[in-house]
């Protein structure tokens, strides 16, 4: 008798092969049988009639390092079908870290993840310094599987202290970093992350950005001893520099025989050659035998802003720029001045900003009154008898400028362009940033969006290819042992979903961070059941109390 029998579903096994109708038998956390009409019974039976049975999805770019200390499910990632995550990206991990350096790292984490301070002071006991200690701290309560990266910035911080953010490393310090990285890899790290872009809370470059090439080369030599991944954040705002980084990654990949990945890569109509040029170089380097994987997100990028900070949303409106660049007290005085406000409204054109601002949506989670949240500025303006530009000013003043506006689908939003990019075998679907940017936008539901937008709506990917791209491809790229396929002997990470319904929910604010802190989330749609290592972790809208997640074994 199986522990769990998932019966009568459409099996999409993660290989990319055609789906077929059948059952999946699970015992002792492993898949033990797959086929039509399995004869054994199950102690627990999941009816998958009309649903897809697929391997659990794997998210290769997350920042759940801190959240995992109080939430082993990395909510809401798990309910979207994510059964394995890779935290520690962008040069930042929570280990190795000396106690004296915690304050420094907290500043960097808060900058990138936007976690409330209570996340670091109330939510967990900081019991570790080394990587093995962090692993021991998260492992007992994991409900998802974790393959953690170790951050280059923290390795520098450990070895160089405050100098890590001031200078290049000496040869003896590079050797010490190599030893420390080796220790982390022996403790289960899946690779090293570094960044050429990120800054701390004071806008200073993070420590990894002070490294010279010989330091990165030396660390990659250690990665080569284990065959582990190098993840980088390239200068994604400049195509030419990104291409130079691809060349650099290719050299490191070939020299040290390691896989490498860069994220993010995204498409905008304003720079239409960016992705094509990037992928052309990836293709050339792959042909040379290099392993360089560009990560691309599925979701469009939404623009959000308030009048508290000058935004380039107003870049073509000289009058607005002038006012918004004033210090906040003077800015409010100017916005309250009727003559100034009239001029600003006039600047937006004869339609009073209808075309430019009418479709902006008032965001929740800030100071916006509940009855306005989720509504368009055009609707609200009409109700108030104002034009949209005037309503934007008055609503902002009524809320001390702390009211957020959202322009949905501001970039990376052309389904026709992005679909073929995601289907490209050289593109690694990822870059969700799960667990980061908490108060700016939701980083959850990208997998649902993959199916709703690029499988069902545009047909750019078949169901089987979409599943493969976020399961076995990911497991293979990162060297996750026995994961990513529905195959006897593999870990029973399974997601059961409705292929006609799966999607991401609307973005909404949730106040579930330590200290009541706010973040934006999206609920899952169409996910029926999620199993992690053979236990039901989420089913029909509810989490179980299972804690069967593991730190992933590596190939």
């Amino acid at each position: 008798m199986f522990d769990i029998l998932i019966r009568n579903g459409k099996i999409v096994d993660g290989t990319g092969a055609s789906a077929f109708q059948g059952d999946v038998g699970i015992t002792d956390g492993r898949i033990v049988a797959i086929g039509p009409e399995l004869q054994q019974e199950g102690r627990r039976v999941v009816d998958a009639s009309g649903l897809v049975i697929a391997p659990g999805f794997i998210d290769p770019h997350t920042h759940f390092d801190v959240q995992l200390l109080w939430d082993g499910a990395a909510k809401p990632a798990l309910e979207h079908g994510i059964t394995s995550i890779i935290p520690g990206n962008c040069s930042l991990s929570l280990a190795p870290l000396k106690a004296d350096d915690r304050k420094t790292l907290i500043g960097m984490f808060q900058q990138i993840e936007e976690l409330p301070p209570e996340a670091f002071t109330q939510a967990f006991d900081w019991t570790w310094e080394d990587f093995a200690g962090y692993r021991a701290a998260i492992e007992p309560s994991l409900a998802v599987n974790v393959a953690p990266l170790v951050g280059h910035s923290v390795i520098r911080l450990w070895v160089m202290g405050a100098d890590a953010q001031q200078r290049a490393a000496r040869p003896d310090e590079i050797v010490a970093m190599q030893d420390l990285l080796r220790e982390c890899l022996e403790a289960g790290a899946v690779g090293l992350s570094t960044s050429f872009v990120d800054v701390d809370e004071n806008a200073r470059p993070v420590p990894s950005r002070f490294a010279q090439f010989q330091e990165l080369d030396a660390l990659c030599a250690v990665l080569g001893e284990f065959g582990r991944m190098l993840q980088i954040v390239p200068e994604f705002y400049d195509t030419d520099i990104t291409i130079a980084r691809i060349d650099q990654l290719a050299e490191l990949s070939l020299k040290h025989r390691i896989p490498t990945t860069l994220s993010p890569v995204f498409d905008n109509r304003q720079s239409p050659n960016n992705v094509p040029r990037t992928l052309a170089r990836i293709e050339e380097q792959t042909a040379r035998g290099a392993r360089v994987w560009p990560q691309m997100q599925t979701r469009p990028i939404d623009i959000s802003f308030s009048l508290l900070r000058p935004s380039l949303f107003f870049a073509r409106l000289p009058g607005w720029i002038k006012v918004l660049r004033l210090p906040v007290p003077e800015r409010m005085i100017a916005l309250r001045d009727p003559a100034t406000a009239d001029r600003l409204v006039a600047d937006t054109g004869e339609d009073g900003g209808e075309r430019l601002m009418g479709r902006l949506v008032v965001r929740g989670g800030g100071e916006a009154p509940d009855h306005l949240v989720g509504r368009t500025l055009g609707e609200i303006a009409a109700e108030r008898g104002e034009v949209p530009a005037r309503a934007l000013i008055t609503l902002s003043l009524e809320n001390d400028l702390s009211i957020g506006f959202l322009a949905a689908n501001g970039g990376h939003d052309s389904t026709e362009r992005i679909g073929p990019m995601l289907a490209n075998p050289l593109v690694h679907i990822g870059a969700s940033d799960g667990g980061a940017h908490l108060t700016s936008f939701s980083t959850y539901g990208d997998t649902g969006y993959l199916f709703s937008e690029f499988v069902r709506k545009s047909g750019a990917l078949s169901l089987e290819l979409a599943v493969r791209k976020i399961t076995s491809d990911t497991a293979e790229i990162w060297g996750l042992k026995d994961r990513g396929l529905l195959k006897p002997g593999f870990a029973a990470d399974v997601v059961v979903f409705d292929p006609q319904v799966i999607a991401r929910g609307e973005e909404r604010p949730a106040f579930d961070m330590p200290g009541g802190g706010m973040r934006y989330v999206r609920d899952s749609i169409g996910i029926d059941t999620v199993l992690v290592n053979g236990e039901v972790a989420w089913s029909k809208g509810s989490y179980s109390d299972s804690a069967t997640g593991r730190v992933c074994e590596l190939t």
């Binding site: 705002y237 400049d238 304003q270 623009i303 959000s304 900070r309 940017h437 700016s440």
Partner: protein, 69 residues
């Protein structure tokens, strides 16, 4: 003497959900390329070169604009 000039300056969504400025340049050798600037940088360069809006950057020499960075 030929020099790099701004062909276009358009706003676009940035990775962090804020609005970036995508500056398209025509280089001395005729090649066109883009540089993406965040809000702080874009406003600084606009101020330093006397541009009142992003549209006002078009046609300006890139080396003049760079002085503001």
């Amino acid at each position: 003497m030929k020099e790099a000039v701004v062909l276009a300056a358009e706003v676009a969504a940035g990775h962090d959900g804020e609005v970036d400025l995508v500056v398209t340049l025509s280089y001395e050798n005729g090649v066109a390329g883009t540089v993406i600037l965040d809000a702080d940088t874009a406003f600084e360069i606009m101020q330093s070169c006397g541009a009142t809006s992003s549209a006002d950057l078009v046609g300006r020499a890139w080396h003049e604009i760079l002085k503001g960075i």
